[in-house]
Amino acid sequence: MFESTLLIRRQSAPGWLSGLCYFGGLASGLGLSALLLMFMGVSSTDLYQEFVVQTFMTLQGLDQTVTAAIPLILVGLGTSLSMRVKFWNIGIEGQLWCGAMAATWVSVNDVGPEPVRLWLMMFAAMAAGGAWIAIALAMKLAWSVTEVISTLLLGSIAFFWVQHMLFGAWRDTVTGFPTSPSFDSAERLDLLGWGQVHEGLWIALTAVAVCTWLTDVSRFGLQAKAVGANLRTARATGLPVLGTVAVFVLGSGALCGLAGGVIAAGTEYRLSQSIGAGYIFSGIVIAFLARANPLGVFAVAVALGGITTAGGVLKVFYGISEAAVLMVQGLVLLSVLAAQLFSEYRLTNRRPV
């Protein structure tokens, strides 16, 4: 099929071509999404208003965007770290749930003195996320169990665990809803006085800095690059492969766990069933579009935060499910992936022989 066109693999694509394909794919994905939304009755001016003007160009819209971006930055960084050592951490939701549960556990049981409680919650969240991914990592190292499946299954398991806690031990006795009791004020991330934006922003920015240091400045960065590029070479040249993989994969789990803790302590102030929903693809989309670069993650996460915010608005005014955001993610990812064809291969017309 398609034999009139020849595909020839390029050794390396010129920078302008990669860039063109990337942004072309991005534009066509977003354009396609816009068309679909218009097809469902959203007018084009509204689209522009909601997705561009309201979310990025007004102060109160921007604060919602930034609030939404905080956990997205964390999961994006998390997925990027594992991606760098070619570990497919797909089930980031599982680590996120575990992080949120650990933070809630600290809150519910009033662990530690009040002034450091919040710190404890965040550390517990990171530890729980790291521990949860450690299961998948151990399975992979010991028995070569593919992490795509194990992290996903662990994600489902963590979700049922959350349900179990919310409908059982942690059920809010005041409201009777399946949420944990509300966190005390000492257990919340303070608002910064700009809409809903909270201290989690500093956590996310610190994480960006730490990840930049890890991947671009420290020795681990080069080791991870070698492990990701060619595992056998990394082994044969005597690099500490196991240590490098452990640092990046556990770090990935810890960041995703931290995201769960930050959502619980920064926006929801409790553990609820809606905390982790929809993050499963966000991590992959952000990490892929940002090419696993921490600063890129920041930019893409803010953009996706805007789309999420606008999606919320669409739900209120047009009755369009927030699943529209998921659809946009899928479309953009697919079209950027497909557009890479033009930078990875040289397309020529077959000349008659």
């Binding site: 020839i8 240091w213 400045v217 000349r351």
Partner: protein, 517 residues
């Protein structure tokens, strides 16, 4: 005898046998792989009823031009004429219809399928659908006709390489190929098997087939082929000359350039023993190494000759620490490295140049400076663990590239973009750095151009002169005889006793290489 008969049948020099148009005519073929021209205006002319040798160095474009003829590669330009007709070869299916079959160097057989399933698959692809049972029957019939036995119900991955080759030949013939192309078919065969195959090819030619034999073994060409075409660097330099009027010396010069008598590198004054391998047993890959013992002294270049696939890769991977031996010891100056990690081996001064550098020595996606730095990250030369100094990396890399005369790249160039010779020099720059005591080099010059070959071999000789011990594993006898004063042969996982002095000659080595141990 055979070739004499045929010389009588045909008038030498005339290209047309019985007025029939040539079986295969390739004209003005250009082919570019990502900007690199592999064929430039190459041509090939094959007559019916002949065994035609296609000779040339590695990378001369022999396989590529034949892959054009089988519809696999689409050429940039050029003409393919089959039996006088201008046939469009858009894909392999077109080539099958045109009656062209190829036995690839890496067999195109599905390893998990049986021989019969593979044949049924091929026949079905050619529009002659048949059941597995019918295919099995056809295979038995055809292999009987060709005079060998082949179990149609054996899984391909379980049978020997020679049997796989027979399966390929039977498959190609059952597809009705009048034109048969064989890519380096004898590289994997023993001497007896080789003789059998070559006489089979001659019989096929006598029966009217046209056969192309891609090879670099000139003796085979002289004894069994009727015509010869020589290619160098993507061009046809000798176009369909009758073997009867061509001398081997002519061909050698055309294909491989001037062969100079090089003085042997080794003088025979060696220092203390550096590396000792005792009774090594490795059973990880397809070949099992058994009872491998050898000893290397300072300043010595010890050669391991042998046809590829007889345990060389397993030995190298085991020395590198990538696979664990089942038994035996590896000792480097009194230090037992048998179960040491790659990092510990490196620290002890053991350096490996594997046959495929981008498999287990370098990463193609990393830059040259990164590749050069990989092995000395913890030396502290490039800053503490929490802050790598890119500047120091680049400075070091610039010096290495200059010292080792690497062309075509800066420290920031991706390693995969370098030519083979330059990439190999980068690897040597890294591995022959300070602290090298033992170098294990596996086919270090395979596929390199002449100038790089000399540079690489000189570097190895240099490091031996400076007191390192070198283990040179290679299929190329000339290279080994030039470099080494004692040589052992690896055959089916077993290493022969070392030969040196008068015993060390091509004939004796050849016997050991193909002999059944």
């Amino acid at each position: 005898m055979m070739s004499k008969i045929k010389t009588l049948l045909k008038s030498p020099g005339s290209h047309k046998a019985g007025g029939r148009p040539p079986a295969l005519l390739l004209q003005g073929i250009d082919k570019t792989f990502d900007g690199k021209k592999v064929l430039s205006c190459a041509g090939f002319r094959l007559e019916w009823g002949e065994v035609h040798a296609l000779v040339g160095e590695n990378g001369a474009g022999k396989s590529t031009i034949m892959n054009v003829a089988t519809g696999v590669y689409a050429p940039d330009c050029g003409k393919v004429i089959v039996d006088g007709r201008d046939v469009p070869l858009r894909n392999p299916a077109d080539a099958i219809v045109a009656g062209i079959g190829m036995v690839h160097q890496h067999f195109r057989l599905v390893g998990r399928f049986t021989v019969a399933e593979n044949v049924a698959l091929a026949l079905g692809g050619a529009g002659r659908r048949c059941s597995i049972g019918e295919a099995a029957h056809l295979i038995e019939e055809k292999s009987g006709e060709l005079g060998f036995s082949l179990d149609p119900n054996a899984r391909v991955e379980r049978i020997s390489v020679a049997e796989q080759q027979r399966a390929e030949i039977v498959k190609v013939l059952l597809l009705g190929a009048g034109i048969m192309i064989l890519d380096e078919p004898t590289a994997v065969l023993t001497q007896g098997e080789t003789r059998g195959l070559l006489s089979l090819l001659q019989r096929l030619a006598l029966a009217g087939h046209a056969v192309v034999l891609i090879t670099h073994k000139l003796q085979e060409v002289a004894d069994h082929c009727d015509q010869i075409t020589v290619m160098t660097q993507g061009r046809t330099v000798l176009d369909a000359a009758p073997m009867a009027v061509t001398t081997i010396a002519q061909v050698t010069q055309l294909a491989f350039g001037e062969v100079k008598e090089k003085p042997p590198v080794q003088m025979g004054h060696f220092g203390d023993e550096l590396l000792r391998i005792e009774d090594l047993e490795v059973g990880d890959g397809a070949v099992t190494l058994e009872g491998l013992t050898l000893s290397l002294r300072a300043g010595e270049i010890f050669g391991i000759a042998g046809v590829g696939g007889n345990g060389q890769s397993e030995l190298v991977a085991c020395l590198n620490g990538l696979i664990r031996p089942l038994d035996g010891r590896i000792v480097l100056t009194g230090l037992d490295l048998t179960n040491a990690s790659p990092a510990q081996r490196r620290k002890a001064g053991l350096r490996i140049i594997p046959a495929d550098r981008f498999d287990s020595a370098m990463a193609g996606d990393l830059t040259l400076s990164e590749n050069l730095t990989l092995t000395s990250l913890d030396s502290g030369r490039f800053g503490p663990w929490w802050r790598m100094s890119r500047k120091a990396m680049i400075r070091d890399a610039e010096k290495s590239l200059k010292d080792f005369n690497v062309l075509g790249g800066t420290p920031e160039t991706k390693a995969s973009l370098l030519s083979g010779g330059n990439a190999q020099k980068v690897l040597l720059a890294r591995e022959l750095s300070a602290g090298t005591r033992v170098v294990v080099a596996h086919s270090p010059v395979r596929g390199l151009d002449v100038r790089s070959v000399n540079a690489v071999l000189d570097l190895l000789a240099e490091s031996a002169k400076e007191g390192a011990a070198c283990l040179l594993i290679s299929e190329d006898l000339d290279e080994i005889l030039h470099m080494c004063s004692s040589v052992a042969v690896l055959n089916r996982g077993r290493l022969s006793a070392p030969l040196s002095g008068a015993d060390l000659n091509p004939t004796r080595l050849g016997e050991l290489m193909v002999g059944h141990v």
